[in-house]
Amino acid sequence: MAVNLSTNIGKLKLQNPVMAASGTFGYAEEFKDFIELKKLGAIVTKTITMRPRPGSRPARTCETPAGMLNSIGLENPGIEVFLKEKLPFLAKIGIPIIVSIASEIENYEYALLCERLDKASGVDAVELNISCPNIKRLARQGFCSGEAKAEARREDLPLISQDPQATYELVSLARKATKKTLITKLSPNVTDIASIACAAEEAGSDAVSLINTLQAMAIDVKSRAPKIAMITGGLSGPAIRPIAIRMVYEVYKKVGIPIIGIGGIIDLFSALEFFIAGACAVSIGTANFINPKTTIEIIQGLKEYLKSNKIKDMKELIGSLAI
């Protein structure tokens, strides 16, 4: 029996609903030895910023029960080096490439980045990373030129994705700057994620992806020091899955745009939970570290699952929660 795994998100046509999540897949080159990249639904790149970022002080990662903390700090080579050195390999794969972007200077740079990517061939969509818990946002007033000035003005501002109005403004600006498919990545470090999702939808986002990592901490009892240098970091892995599923369910009830489910998916069954809760696609992150073949195994598993349950089309699963 032929089964249909394909799904559309904005202008993207995915052959299957399984993607590689931002920050866990680099720019795909490291994974070419393990899987056939062209079999994936899509790849979301590591987040790019306007200028190169060295990233946070080590130690950047530690293990937690069924999870891990990271404070990578958005280490990336900057948009120009990305376009010149990383994009060519990605573009050759033959599947939709979604470029994740972020800025420490909010709206202004998001728009610039969107414009730049709008003109770049090989880039099929943009994911707005307004929810990374590992970068400090700079003061709103004034354009900071130079690292030193930037250091001096650094404040602990809330993330854009923690405020519906800020989200609406940012997404509107990005929407004007690109005609390509726009995805907004949401933060779980909020009281009401559905309201943030609605704001993104109203502003014209083609889809929302949730969840980004949860702000968390771990302490080394012997030294009494935090296990990662930046003290707190983002929690990911199976430990966060129940929170992610709950949030997908809440957002599915409130928005009409496609939802990409992310959070501790490690196999077919964990992926299915997200589809049933309302996600039309899933993104695999931390699991890639444990088993680089996870994405492909889930795609294969989905095919077999649909066949053996006599389901002709993925769409029958989406939002099929029995309540």
């Binding site: 994974f31 070419k32 030895d33 899987i35 060295p54 002080r57 080590p58 293990e63 280490e75």
Partner: protein, 358 residues
């Protein structure tokens, strides 16, 4: 070419050889992937010293590709506890088997210590960039391996490769340098090339251990033909003190002659091409962070080239996540490298030690 194309097509259908499907060069058929993910059978897994285990896995693909200084990333159990893989240096390679040496430090290694021969481990490797070395072509070259505690592990593999018999390539070695080293190391054995053109090469290995019962791999190094000197913290054997102190004492016997030698130019050890020319002495060190910092200081003071194998907490182990960062020296600004991909071996003068990263 026809046959090559057919083999590529056949292998492309095999999921495990995904790397080949993307490779256009027919000559690279079996070796297209630099990194493999394989289920490897445990052949042996036993305690050999206080809290130290030796594990041998059957992994011919990894064994064939492995270079000294590289490591493997192991899934110690099938579930999500512990979540992440555990990286272990490749300790030895023989007949398709890969030997590993590890200490039980936490949850992951505790579980690994309980795995039995006949069981399988999901292993990714070989990973990392490895040591850069050339088998010495003159008896006047001297390589010093410095093993601190568990740091012994990758150095045995290095010693295996260094001491493999080989024909003298007969490059030109400057007479002056040759004489300097002969004078300096006159207490050491200098071996003349034999009539059959084969050279026996003897690296100097300095082993540092807490006490005599903690000494690792002394016999392995000696069986490979290395000259071994021991340092124990408590003096229960050999030199009393840290292995870095022992190094300093060894270098001081060479010092007066070496300091008149021309200054060494440093070349990046991250070069894939291994065409680095070694001068009189090169140090290869692996061990606890404080030891590496000391070796780094000493080697730079004496103007001796040194390669250090670092450790860092790893998430992906393959260079994708940027988690295992180590800070490198830079004139202005901050820059990091990945221990799992750009390392674990770095040149001593590259590392910015001020930032704690392990």
């Amino acid at each position: 070419m026809e046959a090559g194309a057919a083999i590529i097509a056949r292998n492309a259908r095999n999921d495990n050889k995904a790397g080949i499907a993307q490779c256009a060069c027919p000559r690279k058929l079996q070796r297209c992937s630099d990194m493999l993910q394989v289920k490897s059978k445990i052949m042996f897994n036993k305690k050999i010293a206080p809290n130290c285990f030796h594990c041998v896995i059957n992994a011919p693909g990894i064994a064939r590709l492995a270079k000294p200084g590289q490591f493997v990333n192991i899934r110690v159990s099938d579930g999500i506890t512990p979540l992440l893989r555990r990286p272990l240096s490749i300790h030895k390679v023989k007949a398709g088997n890969v030997g590993l040496l590890y200490e039980v430090l936490g949850q992951g290694t505790q579980i690994l210590a309980k795995r039995k021969p006949g069981e399988y481990l999901d292993v990714i490797g070989p990973l990392g960039s490895g040591f850069t070395y050339q088998r010495p072509t003159a008896s006047s070259e001297r390589l010093i391996l410095i093993a601190g505690g568990m740091g012994t592990a990758p150095l045995v593999f290095l010693a295996q490769r260094l001491t493999k018999r080989d024909v003298i390539a007969s490059p030109e070695r400057s007479e002056e340098r040759s004489n300097l080293i002969k004078i300096a190391l006159s207490q050491e054995e200098t071996q003349a090339p034999r009539n059959d053109g084969m050279i026996r090469y003897s690296p100097l290995v300095l082993i540092g251990a807490k006490s005599r019962s903690h000494i690792l791999c002394e016999k392995e190094f000696k069986d490979l033909g290395c000259q071994v000197k021991i340092a124990t913290d408590n003096g229960s054997r050999g030199f009393k003190g840290y292995v870095s102190d022992l190094l300093e004492s060894e270098l001081s016997t060479v010092n007066s002659q070496l300091s008149t030698a021309p200054a060494r130019r440093f070349r990046s050890v991250n070069s894939q091409l291994s065409t680095v020319n070694y001068e009189l002495l090169t140090i290869y060190a692996c061990g606890p962070r404080p030891m590496l910092e000391e070796i780094s200081r000493i080697s730079q003071e004496h103007n001796v080239s040194a390669q250090l194998s670092l450790e860092a907490h790893m998430a992906c182990g393959i260079g994708a996540c940027m988690g295992c960062a180590v800070r490198i020296k830079k004139n202005n600004g901050v820059e990091y490298r990945r221990v799992c991909k750009d390392g674990p071996v770095f040149a001593a003068q590259e590392i910015e030690w001020g930032i704690h990263g392990c």
